[in-house]
């Protein structure tokens, strides 16, 4: 067996047998995806609550709009009390030909929505009762806009974050622990090219990242979350690989400076966590202040995130490869060069 193959095998075995690392690099980020996916997944279809007393054509028509969530109450007074208490933003009561609408004054927007909705439906019912042809016909249907469904931006975002985290931690902690435990010395004393050791560790990192990506896309594509990959998803592969390389080299740099695993963990967290929040991993940067968008442009995670989003879900063509690939490649070269300059075999 060649040194490369056996070192890679040793790395994979060591990783798979380490339950804690396995949990934090695969299960933990998946939990983020599931939790955020479930929380934000409902935000687009949040229905307006409406207290209802009695029944009639207006209540029926409101129900058919599918945008209100009925809370049935026994009497008008009880329903009004719930509005006063803030349990529901508004209530309607329908009996005979009368529709009573009461709304809370505190939330003007909700009140406006409910008022518009109820009066629109009431007008429609009235119109229908006259059996006259409407003067104006309304033709409405939905279009896809550029703002993405939650799962569509969460999947590439959390995937980039978790791949970046694994690459940084994997590289940094391996380097620190190998130096401290003298495994590096062992390798230095063996007739082996350091490049072989490095590429074997990179292979382990890429293998892990591919497993992460497969699990992320697989789970996000479940009907509960509803991820839909675009036709050009495969163009994300170069962005993905260059991202791993860039973050691996950041990990090598961290590992060159840190003396203990604890220091390495802290340093890697300081590098990755703020970057995750500034790069649109957990929420889109569309509504962020412009200075923040500018700052985030210098972060490699932002470009990995953007690149993956462009190809996995936005379906952009190959011309969109240039910026993310160039930035990530540049990061890898510069940081990798610095890391190779400050690399130490031994502590003292």
């Amino acid at each position: 067996m060649t040194a490369f193959k056996s070192l890679t095998q040793a790395g994979v075995k060591g990783f798979v047998r380490d339950k804690a690392t396995l949990f934090f690099s695969i299960v933990f980020p998946l939990m983020f995806l599931v939790v955020f996916g479930l929380i934000f997944g409902n935000s687009g279809t949040n229905k307006t609550k409406l207290g209802v007393v009695g029944d009639g054509p207006v209540v029926q028509a409101l129900n058919q709009t599918g945008v209100v969530d009925f809370q049935h109450y026994g009497s008008l007074d009880e329903a009004v009390q719930h509005v006063k208490d803030g349990d529901v933003p508004a209530m309607i009561a329908e009996s005979g030909g009368t529709v009573t609408l009461r709304f809370a004054a505190s939330d003007q927007t909700q009140a406006g929505v409910v008022q518009g909705l109820v009066s629109g439906v009431t007008d429609k019912v009235n119109l229908a009762a006259t059996h006259q042809k409407p003067v104006v016909n309304l033709d409405s249907s939905q279009v896809e806009d550029s703002s993405l469904n939650a799962i569509q931006y969460l999947t590439p975002g959390i995937l980039s974050w978790s791949v970046a985290t694994s690459a940084v931690f994997g590289a940094a902690l391996t380097l620190v622990s190998w130096r401290r435990k003298q495994v590096l010395r062992r390798l230095r004393l063996a007739p082996i090219n350091p490049a072989v050791v490095l590429t074997s560790r990179l292979t382990v990192a890429v293998t892990l990242a591919v497993v992460q990506a497969a699990m992320f896309v697989g789970i996000a594509s479940l009907p509960v979350f509803g991820l839909k990959l675009s036709g050009t998803w495969y163009l994300g592969i170069p962005v993905f690989l260059l991202g791993i390389l860039a973050f691996f080299s950041i990990g090598m740099l961290v590992g060159s400076f840190a003396k203990t695993e604890e220091a390495g963990t802290a340093a890697a967290n300081i590098v990755v966590l703020p970057m995750a929040f500034l790069s649109g991993t957990f929420f889109p940067l569309d509504s962020a202040p412009s200075w923040l968008k500018t700052v985030s442009n210098v972060l490699p995670l932002r470009h990995m995130n953007d690149g993956l989003t462009d190809f996995l879900v936005r379906g952009k063509d190959a011309s969109a490869l240039l910026v993310p690939c160039a930035v990530l490649l540049g990061f890898m070269l510069v940081v990798g060069f610095i890391a190779s300059r400050v690399f130490r075999w031994e502590d003292a």
């Binding site: 067996m1 060649t2 040194a3 193959k5 056996s6 070192l7 095998q9 040793a10 790395g11 075995k13 060591g14 047998r17 380490d18 622990s177 435990k181 003298q182 495994v183 010395r185 062992r186 390798l187 230095r188 004393l189 063996a190 007739p191 082996i192 031994e346 003292a348």
Partner: protein
């Protein structure tokens, strides 16, 4: 078997190496030669400079001055062609994470382009055959120590360096390891090892260098060093085996002392004292002690040996 360095071919020639860390002279002008097949010990208390000396010889550190010739070449900077011929035992944690004893050996063997088969042979040599499938982190301290020695040997090197292989082991584990070290020497390897157990070095080594404060104070076969002291022999009996006055009357006894447990003769002529005691039939609890390397250390440094 003791070989004199002048007659056998030299495996290692160290000439006047020095290494300082700030004001501390860790190694302060050390020279020695180790011949092929020799079991050479570097002894001394912690901080004597043993490990630094070893690391310079192995090519892991560059000396500030002086030269090292290892198998005819300088080990610094890293010479890939020389590395398969030397085996270095590292601290007992220098393993890959979560691999079993056999997997560790196979992985290290592969670094030298050696097949997986030899792993079993070296597990047997160090007595870990029944632990082959145990993960390294589940082994005892002594077992890990033996595994790390097996890892240093798996590519069949000509020279083996062992840094404190018996440190922190219980007495039984130490003795097991001695058998391993003797087995390695029987394979014709040159062994250089450091220890702070002087008694152990006396038993194992063909030749020892006693180091203190970065310098070699003495270098010879252990028996030569001990004889060179010309120290008196002590003969110890159980207390009450003989009256104190009667004991003082024995010819050849230079000094006799008695404490709660023992009656101790100090003599330079042990033969007449022992035969007189035998005639009297008073040999209960007999112990005969000659000087040890600890006494050599005491006389060289003027202070008691403290490991």
């Amino acid at each position: 078997m003791t070989q004199h360095p002048d007659r056998a071919e030299a495996a290692i020639v160290v000439d006047g190496i020095r290494k300082s860390y700030g004001d501390l002279k860790a190694v302060d002008g050390v020279s020695f030669t180790v011949s092929e097949g020799e079991f050479f010990g570097i002894l001394g208390p912690n901080g004597a400079g043993k490990t630094t000396t070893l690391e310079i010889v192995e090519g892991l550190r560059k000396p500030d001055s002086g030269t090292v010739t290892l198998l005819g070449e300088s080990p610094w900077p890293r010479k890939v062609s020389m590395l398969p011929r030397i085996g270095v035992q590292l601290q007992a944690s220098a393993f890959f994470d979560k691999l079993t004893a056999r997997e560790q050996l196979e992985t290290f063997a592969s670094l030298y382009g050696i097949g997986a088969k030899t792993a079993g042979e070296y597990l047997e040599l160090v007595g870990l055959t029944d632990k082959a499938d145990t993960r390294e982190d589940k082994l005892s301290g002594g077992q890990r120590q033996r595994l790390s020695i097996a890892c240093a040997l798996v590519h069949d090197p000509d020279i083996v360096f062992l840094d404190e292989p018996t440190a922190a082991l219980d007495p039984q584990a130490r003795r097991n390891l001695w058998d391993v070290l003797r087995a390695i020497q029987a394979r014709g390897k040159t062994i250089v090892y450091t220890t702070h157990y002087l008694d152990e070095a006396e038993i194992l080594c063909d030749r020892v260098a006693i180091m203190d404060k970065g310098r070699i104070l003495a270098m010879d076969p252990p028996a030569t060093l001990v004889r060179g002291l010309d120290a008196p022999t002590r003969i110890i009996l159980e207390r009450g085996a003989l009256g104190l006055e009667e004991a003082q009357g024995i010819t050849g006894a230079d000094d006799v002392t008695e404490d709660e447990l023992s009656l101790t003769f100090t003599t330079r002529k042990p033969a007449p004292v022992l035969s007189a005691l035998a005639e009297k039939g008073s040999l209960d609890g007999l112990q005969v002690r000659t000087a040890t390397l600890e006494d050599v250390f005491l006389s060289l440094t003027g202070r008691e040996y403290r490991a």
